[in-house]
Symmetry: C2
Subunit: 132 residues, 2 copies
């Protein structure tokens, strides 16, 4: 019945026990999107990322990078120097994903006005209710 849904790989993200479902859960994070997009054009240091991702706290940055490293999307390189120097870069798998996530980001940027309008309309309608 859902042979089309598993995309022919035997995995089905609609099933909560499927490994691809947990992958989707991992990807469902604002900071994962942004970190992967930020690393797309080359390796960056922790501080460089922190400056690029406005509003991220050091904790969330580290947490996100650890998840991405654990899942094989990001490689971490430590230079044994003082003061410490650590660089992050996408693995091949990460680069592969970055293409898609960048498309999502572009979509968000392109359609932000549409969605802003839709939200405004939704608010206007709900406010109109009292007078109905």
């Amino acid at each position: 019945m859902d042979s089309e849904d598993d995309c022919g790989f035997g995995y089905d993200a609609f099933r909560r026990t499927c490994p691809s479902h947990t992958v989707l859960e991992m990807l469902a994070s604002k900071w994962v999107y942004l970190v992967v997009c930020a690393l797309r054009k080359g390796r960056l240091r922790n501080g460089e990322l922190a400056r690029k991702l406005e509003g991220i706290t050091p904790k969330m940055l580290t947490q996100t990078l650890r998840v991405l490293e654990r899942d094989g999307l990001v490689r971490r390189e430590i230079f044994p120097v003082i003061p410490p120097r650590v660089e992050y870069e996408l693995t091949e798998l990460g680069q592969n994903l970055a293409g898609l996530l960048t498309q999502i980001r572009s979509w968000a940027e392109q359609h932000a006005p549409d969605i802003k309008d839709a939200r405004a309309r939704a608010i206007a309608e709900s406010e109109g209710d009292w007078a109905a």
Copy 2:
């Protein structure tokens, strides 16, 4: 400096005040992914969605659909019959997005084994630490 990053639309998802940033936040949800993907091939009723999205609670399903409706990605049609009949379908904007989200889902399904392996390796390494 970041002229490439705003994709030429004047929006930059890296800035937390940018409307596109809130769009990205909205998209960063497992259930948003899955509901949009599920509706891709046509309109579905609440119960049909609930059966398709294994593990979703009625609350999360309704909540997700309300967000998608508010943002203009999903259209809701109510048939005034008893028992109630409500159908959901993607708007044009939603269809547009569904293409991308389906790619993400396919990616998750294709690369689930790679990520499973990466996680296993990460665990093996961290367990190896005690013997180091």
